[in-house]
Structures are given as structure tokens and as C-alpha cells.
């Protein structure tokens, strides 16, 4: 166990699927935020509607955080199974509150409780709710009241939420308010309020609390996306939900389609016609899209797709997290063609990358795949707002040039590989966007020299892109002794760990090299850092094979001596990074 102080207080609400754990967790996170604390919310849940066990964990601090701790201080359990599943995540001296009559622990659990000096409190929340004239599910409102009281939080936000939810049911509102008051008035037996000693943020109203999928959906609006097509698949489904929820404000066409093949084809069709359309899926859905990806490559049609990663193969762990689909994004689809793969890691990048992806897709007339992860898609992050989005750049032939166009300019062979692009309705000069090998006007050809020349032209776009896309981002000291090389949400745990080490182990000089533009992979900065730290490069990825490491090795021959790979469906917790650095550096 690490002895580094985490400077966090961690609350975990756990129960069965269908018990409202997610709602309780979100309400609590919002109340903590409203009170002025930094929060990071993390969900674990099974792919079930009822049963199993799930939890909502909120890390609380006065420092920015983008990752979770492995252990918690306060565990609130609403079901028996969840007690047994999560008891061992309690830190020494932690407190378990549960709502279960006659809960029994195994001898091993008893021993654990004694050794760790855990405090345990039973709250008959169902009885309390019933005493107020409420139903069993209102035990959740009682539980929220108890947690608010214990953490010293104001109830105003919860009251507002209840008032909004039961605006048309005044009697239900009254009962729920009574349940909340009963929770707030609850007198504990063993429970000790934690006395959170965190400095409260001023101007908390300037901060936004949302998930990565919210940021992607907002990014789509800013990027001028006018159609979103998708087939539901965790962890990308909620992008569809959010955009559909907002469709009357945005006027965006949001369409659930019959399968991912249609999703990809419709998106490409809409882009070909000249609007901006986006689609989102997960690895399995993207498998179905790879033939269409290849079609976009050959017809040089811009195409942007969000791939939310979760562990495979097959259905794998559908509601858990992973970064195992980088190779799928980079190598998926038959044949060879230029493409770009970017990876979000937090709210800011999730929002910003959508607009950047469309600009790249339209500039290079190619597919841009935006990788995200369940850990980003569904976790609750705090942000102070978003950067100005990249200006929309279409790279279409301007009206002034339309009259001088020739059909053979559409796929004209150029040094950069990029040809002029225009769309139906724009010009009387028409062309064939041909999935068969073609001449510069799109007419079919199987002739040897022309086929090779057209192939060269398309592939040159990859080199053009490599020269123009950004290098990875470096965080850390100017003269590091160790450098963590990573991408995606792993960056967040690494940076959170480094922040803690600044005070607990200031002599340790560790930096993080974070790949947001993953493919084509740029390596100048990596090689520069390697010249400083030698073999002290640590590859950290949420997959088994170290897929970014593989791309880097392919490009440079570099082999990572130090690798921390995690593939159990869980994200990197801050302790994972701290423990590894403690053992390795």
C-alpha cells in the first residue's frame, strides 16, 4: 500500500443495478461541487438492468483531479452483494454505512474489519422512508440526506432537483422533502463526520461538471455538425442521448440507425454531399464500419467517427474501460490509405478534438477517428470552461473558382496528395467518386502506371499529415530522469500522481509524454526525451500489448524496457502509478 498522502477524501455509493446508485452518486457529486470542492466521479456497473453490483465513486479535494483512487474513506451500500464486493476498497479507518437488516460478514471479512479498524453503521433507510409515508425507493433520498449532513453540504441543490422532478406531483414532492429532512436529521451511532479540511473554490458557478460524452456532444455542436448517426453501444450511447435531448435547440438531425454499417455509410453520404455529419460507436461497432472506412479512403471522402473503447474481444467487459482499440483504429479496414487517429483524455480534449478532427478530415479528405474510453465517456469531470474551438475550415473549392473547374481536378495527382474538393449541387462540373481504382476524374481504370500513381497520390497524404500534425504534449520538469509515455485517460492518473509526488518526493523527476495525435505517430520529441533519459521511458497503457508502444517501435525501432499495462477493465487509479514509480524509479 502506498504511504503517500493522497490529499483526497473518497466517497463511494454502491448497490444493485436499478437501485438508483448512479442518480445518488451524481446528485452527491453536484452537491459537493456546489459547496466548492473539486470532484471526480467514476462509475462501475455491470451490463445488467437489475441486480449485480455497481458503484459511484467521488474523489473530493481542493486540488484539480482527473482520476480516481483505488480506495475510499466512506462506503455507502444499498445492497448486500455490494457490501461484499466493495468492503475491501475501504482505507484503514474508513467507514461503512449500509441499509441492510441482519447483514452478516464472513470470518475473513470480520478479520479485515478489525485489522483496518473500520467503523460500521446500519441505517434503516427503508423504514425511515416508510415512516415519512414514502416508498422503498425513497430510501435513496434518506441516504442523500445522511450523506449531505455527514459531509457538511447544503441541501439546496437536492431540493431544486426534487422540485424539478416532481413539479407536477406535489404530494410526491412533499414526501421526498420529508425523507430528505429525515436523512439530514439522522442521529448516527458510530458514524464520525470526516471534517473535510479542503479550501473551497471561489466562484464555483464558473465551473462545469460533466462527462466526456457531454464534451464530445458539445464539441460536435461547436464544430458545426448537422447530423449525428449512431447505433446504441456502450460507452458511446450517451452521445446519441445527449444530442437527441438537445436537438430542438440545435436543429441537428439525430438519427438512431439500423446498424453500424448504415451508420458509417449514412455519415459518409452526408459528408459527401457537403454537410458535417458525425457518428459514434465502440470497438465492436467499428469492426462493422471498417469496410466503409476503406471506402472513405478510396473515394477521399472526409469521415469522422468516435470510437468509445471498452475491453474486448467479443462483448468482453461491455461497461468497463480499456485502450485496446488503437490498433483497430490505425489498421482497421482493407487496403492501404491515409488516415488520422486522435485520442481524447479529458473534457477539454474531448470537446476540442471534434472540431480539429473535422478540419483535418476535410483538409486531407480522409477519415479521422476519435478514440475515447468508457473512463472518459462516463466519468464526471470538473472544468472551468472550454477553449475557443478551432475555426471551421471546409477546404471546399470557393465559389469564385467553380466556373474554371475541370472534372479531372477532383482526384488530380498533386505533390501533397490533396486535390480540389467540391460537392454535388456546387458546380456543373461533375465527377465520379469511385470506390474502384480510378483516373483523376473518377473514371474507372485498371491500367498499371495510373493505378500506381493514384495509389501514390493517396498515400502521400499520410506524409503530408505527419509533417503538419502536432507533436505529443509533454508535462513535467525540463530535465526529467524518467518519462511516462502514454495516451488517453492513463495520462490523467499519471499527472495526478506526479502532482502528489511534487510534495511527497520532490527529488523524483518524472515527466509525462502524452499522445493526443496518435497516428500518424510523431516521434521527434520522444527521441529528444530519450536522449535525456535513456532507457528510463515507461510505457503506460490500458491494454495488454502496449499498442502505442508498438506504433512507436515500428516507427523508430525503440523498445520500451519499462511497461505498466493494465487490462482488467479498470482504469488506472492514482495508486497504480504511485506504486509503480515507487518500485521502479
Amino acid at each position: 500500500m502506498p504511504n503517500t498522502p493522497l490529499h483526497r477524501y473518497v466517497v463511494k455509493v454502491a448497490g444493485e443495478s436499478g437501485q438508483g446508485v448512479n442518480s445518488v452518486g451524481e446528485i452527491l457529486a453536484k452537491s459537493l461541487k456546489e459547496t466548492g470542492y473539486q470532484v471526480f466521479g467514476y462509475r462501475e456497473y455491470p451490463s445488467l438492468i437489475k441486480g449485480g453490483y455497481s458503484c459511484y465513486q467521488i474523489d473530493v479535494s481542493d486540488q484539480p483531479m482527473q482520476s480516481s483512487s483505488a480506495e475510499c474513506d466512506l462506503l455507502m451500500c444499498l445492497s448486500r452483494v455490494s457490501v461484499h464486493a466493495y468492503l475491501k476498497t475501504l482505507r484503514p479507518g474508513g467507514q461503512l454505512v449500509h441499509t441492510l437488516k441482519a447483514l452478516q460478514f464472513s470470518p475473513e471479512e470480520e478479520q479485515w474489519i478489525n485489522e483496518r479498524q473500520l467503523k460500521i453503521e446500519f441505517v434503516d433507510a427503508v423504514q425511515i422512508a416508510e415512516d415519512q409515508g414514502g416508498k422503498w425507493i425513497m430510501a435513496n433520498t434518506v441516504v442523500i440526506g445522511i450523506l449531505l449532513k455527514m459531509l457538511g453540504l447544503s441541501e439546496s441543490l437536492v431540493v431544486r432537483i426534487l422540485e424539478a422532478e416532481f413539479a407536477h406531483k406535489p404530494d410526491m414532492l412533499a414526501v421526498n422533502k420529508q425523507c430528505l429532512t429525515a436523512g439530514l436529521n439522522y442521529q448516527p451511532n458510530t458514524l464520525v463526520p470526516p471534517q473535510l479540511a479542503f479550501t473551497k473554490l471561489p466562484e464555483i458557478d464558473n465551473y462545469y461538471l460533466m462527462t466526456g460524452n457531454h464534451a464530445i456532444a458539445l464539441g460536435a455542436i461547436s464544430a458545426g455538425v448537422r447530423a449525428y448517426y449512431a447505433y446504441p453501444m456502450t460507452p458511446s450511447s450517451s452521445i446519441l442521448t445527449y444530442l437527441a435531448e438537445w436537438q430542438h435547440e440545435t436543429g441537428m438531425l439525430v438519427k438512431q440507425v439500423e446498424d453500424e454499417i448504415s451508420v458509417a455509410q449514412m455519415t459518409i453520404g452526408s459528408m459527401f454531399m457537403g454537410t458535417r455529419a458525425l457518428c459514434g460507436t465502440a470497438g465492436g461497432g467499428f469492426d462493422l464500419m471498417t469496410e466503409s472506412l476503406s471506402m472513405a479512403g478510396m473515394t477521399e471522402t472526409p469521415w469522422v467517427c468516435v470510437i468509445g473503447q471498452r475491453p474486448g474481444p467479443a462483448t468482453g467487459l461491455p461497461t468497463w474501460t480499456s485502450t485496446g482499440d488503437l490498433n483497430l483504429a490505425v489498421f482497421g479496414g482493407h487496403g492501404e490509405y491515409a488516415r488520422c487517429v486522435v485520442a481524447a483524455s479529458d473534457l477539454e480534449s474531448a470537446y476540442r478534438l471534434v472540431g480539429e478532427a473535422f478540419n483535418i478530415a476535410e483538409k486531407y479528405q480522409t477519415a479521422v477517428l476519435i478514440l475515447t474510453e468508457k473512463q472518459i465517456a462516463e466519468s464526471l469531470f470538473l472544468t472551468k470552461g472550454f477553449p475557443q474551438p478551432a475555426p471551421i475550415e471546409r477546404y471546399l473549392v470557393p465559389d469564385s473558382e467553380l466556373s474554371q473547374l475541370q472534372a479531372n481536378q477532383r482526384y488530380e495527382i498533386t505533390e501533397s496528395g490533396i486535390s480540389k474538393r467540391w460537392v454535388p449541387g456546387q458546380s456543373p462540373v461533375v465527377f465520379d467518386a469511385n470506390g474502384d481504382e480510378h483516373l483523376p476524374d473518377g473514371s474507372l481504370t485498371e491500367e498499371s502506371a495510373t493505378s500506381a500513381a493514384m495509389y501514390d497520390k493517396r498515400m502521400r497524404k499520410q506524409a503530408t499529415m505527419l509533417a503538419e500534425l502536432p507533436e505529443p504534449q509533454y508535462f513535467g520538469p525540463e530535465q526529467p530522469e524518467w518519462v511516462i509515455v502514454t495516451w488517453g485517460s492513463v495520462k490523467n492518473a499519471a499527472i495526478d500522481a506526479l502532482e502528489l509526488l511534487k510534495t511527497s518526493k520532490p527529488e523524483l523527476k518524472v515527466g509525462v509524454l502524452h499522445y493526443e495525435y496518435v497516428y500518424p505517430v510523431r516521434t521527434e520529441q520522444l527521441l529528444k526525451l530519450q536522449s535525456q533519459v535513456g532507457d528510463n521511458l515507461i510505457l503506460m497503457e490500458n491494454n495488454y500489448t502496449g499498442q502505442l508502444g508498438g506504433l512507436i517501435s515500428q516507427a523508430t525501432g525503440l523498445q520500451f524496457k519499462h511497461r505498466l499495462l493494465k487490462y482488467d477493465g479498470r482504469p488506472f487509479f492514482v495508486e497504480d502509478v504511485l506504486n509503480y514509480l515507487e518500485e521502479t524509479c
Partner: protein, 294 residues
């Protein structure tokens, strides 16, 4: 579209040389498509023709207009995506019986449900021609084909019966031996607001010797020759569509102009005065963002 358009047959002409077999039904179909587009004043600039993979798809560079020649079985969704984005451009899609009823049959079914505003033309020649004469979903039972030397053992699909079961808004049939008839049917399909399904019985002189042009010529009749035929009567359409062996009904079997096309059914788009292609500009997120700071 303007009534006094200057569009001519020549505008759809291509210098590229056809690569179809002599007597292939595709020649007549191309001629009819061009005639129908010109008659409906669809200028090449405002027309998108989408092609599936197969013999008909190899004609994508032998005709004018904007064209998209995509993947086998996937022509419908790419055309749907295009049609949704800009209704000022007429979208027609062409696919064979293999791609449409085999690999991509789900797309066809959902396109009928969606009533997307486009015309789909099914080239039904009862086999896979380009891959050299394998059985397709419409090949007749016991027919000996390249892939089934002992004869086809699966029950053939009846395309019109299937489509008519889906409450479509436009269903027509015609055959590649009659350019005038095809032209009239395609014109009506192009005019229809919604998903127009047109099945063309197509001659395949190389791989389908069983049902050449003469075979169809001897059996077809236009539904308009039936006394009191009403193309608004779905059950009547289902009755007349049944027979594919003796008396084969062609023409517009069913048409329902009252059902709104896809975008007219979508609550947040039905009153839009612009097309999706006109609207690409930074959207405001302020009002939505304000829900996340409390």
C-alpha cells in the same frame, strides 16, 4: 426544379466506353434513366446517382451527374445520407438483386420504413452477373447456377411482396426491354416525395438464359390496363404483384403521396427552411453549457 430548364440528353453523355455484354439490360436502363432525368429537368449539377457493386455499378463512369460508386450491398445507406443532407439534389440509387436482397437487405427494409426522399432502382436479373453467374436471392428454385450445380435449394425472395408488406409509399415494376415504360416509371419515382422502390426485370444474356426479354415480353401487362385499378389500394397492389410466372404486373403498383418523407416526419427538421449542407457553422453551446454549472 424549373419548368423551363435547359437540360438535355447530351448532358448525361459520357465518353467512357460501356463494358457490358451485348444485349445486356443495363443499356436500356441507362437510356431510360437519362431520358427520365431530362424529362424531369434534373440537371447533372443537381443530381446524384449512387451505384452498388455489380455490372450496373461498372456503369457509374459512363453517365453524367454526380456519382458515388460505393460498396457491395451498401448503396442505399450512402444514398440515404446524401439525400438527407441536401434535398435540392435529386438522389437515385441503383443496386442488383445480389447486393440489395443478399448482403444489404436490412438497409432496404429500413429505408422503406424511413421513407427517405430518394429513388431506388433494383436491377433484378436473377443472378450475380459480375462474379460470373452465381445464384442470387431471386434465382428460381432448382435453377442450376455456378455456385449451385445441383440447382438452387432456397425459396426465392419475392421483392414486391416483401416491400409491399412494409407499408411503403411507392412501389413500381418495369422491365429492361421497354425503354419507354421504364422512363415513365422512373419519372414517377423521381417525382414521388419519399422512398421510391422500382424493380426492373433485367435481361442477363450471359448467365440467365431462362428469362430473357422475350420471356418477360410474353407475360407482362401494365396495371393501368386493369379496369378500375387504383394505385392507392395497398391490398390490391399486393394481389396483382403476386404472380411472377404467368401474368406479371408492371407499372406503378402502389403510391401514397400523403405520407410525409423522412425529414417531414422529424419534429425538429420538418419546418426547416435550409438544408443540412447550408448550416455548417459554429453552433452556440452557451445555453446548454449553463445546465452544467449548478
Amino acid at each position: 426544379m424549373s419548368e423551363n430548364c435547359s437540360c438535355s440528353f447530351h448532358d448525361y453523355y459520357s465518353d467512357n466506353i460501356y463494358t457490358w455484354c451485348t444485349n445486356c439490360g443495363n443499356y436500356g436502363i441507362h437510356a431510360a434513366v437519362k431520358r427520365a432525368l431530362v424529362a424531369e429537368c434534373c440537371e447533372p449539377k443537381d443530381t446524384l446517382l449512387c451505384f452498388d457493386i455489380g455490372c450496373n455499378g461498372n456503369g457509374s463512369d459512363k453517365i453524367g451527374g454526380y456519382r458515388y460508386h460505393g460498396l457491395h450491398g451498401r448503396v442505399i445507406p450512402v444514398a440515404v445520407g446524401a439525400a438527407i443532407a441536401n434535398r435540392r439534389v435529386k438522389v437515385l440509387a441503383f443496386g442488383g438483386d445480389g447486393g440489395t436482397l443478399g448482403e444489404g437487405i436490412n438497409h432496404l427494409i429500413h429505408a422503406v420504413r424511413g421513407n427517405y426522399n430518394m429513388t431506388f432502382i433494383l436491377h433484378n436479373n436473377l443472378n450475380y452477373g459480375l462474379t460470373q453467374g452465381q445464384a442470387s436471392p431471386t434465382t428460381k428454385l432448382e435453377m442450376k447456377m455456378n455456385s449451385s450445380p445441383d440447382g438452387v435449394s432456397s425459396t426465392p425472395l419475392h421483392p414486391a411482396r416483401m416491400i409491399l408488406s412494409l407499408n411503403p409509399t411507392f412501389v413500381a415494376r418495369t422491365f429492361s426491354g421497354d425503354i419507354n415504360h421504364m422512363t415513365e416509371v422512373i419519372r414517377r419515382g423521381v417525382r414521388h416525395q419519399g422512398f421510391s422502390f422500382i424493380e426492373i426485370y433485367q435481361n442477363c444474356p450471359t448467365y440467365n438464359k431462362a428469362t430473357p426479354h422475350q420471356w418477360y415480353q410474353d407475360r407482362i401487362y401494365d396495371v393501368s390496363t386493369l379496369p378500375d385499378y387504383n394505385a392507392r389500394d395497398l391490398n390490391r397492389a399486393r394481389e396483382v404483384a403476386e404472380d411472377l410466372e404467368n401474368k406479371i404486373a408492371v407499372g406503378v403498383l402502389y403510391e401514397n403521396p400523403d405520407e410525409p418523407e423522412f425529414l417531414k416526419r422529424v419534429a425538429n427538421r420538418q419546418n426547416a427552411t435550409t438544408e443540412l449542407v447550408d448550416e455548417v457553422k459554429p453552433g452556440s453551446i452557451e445555453s446548454i453549457l449553463n445546465r452544467f454549472n449548478q
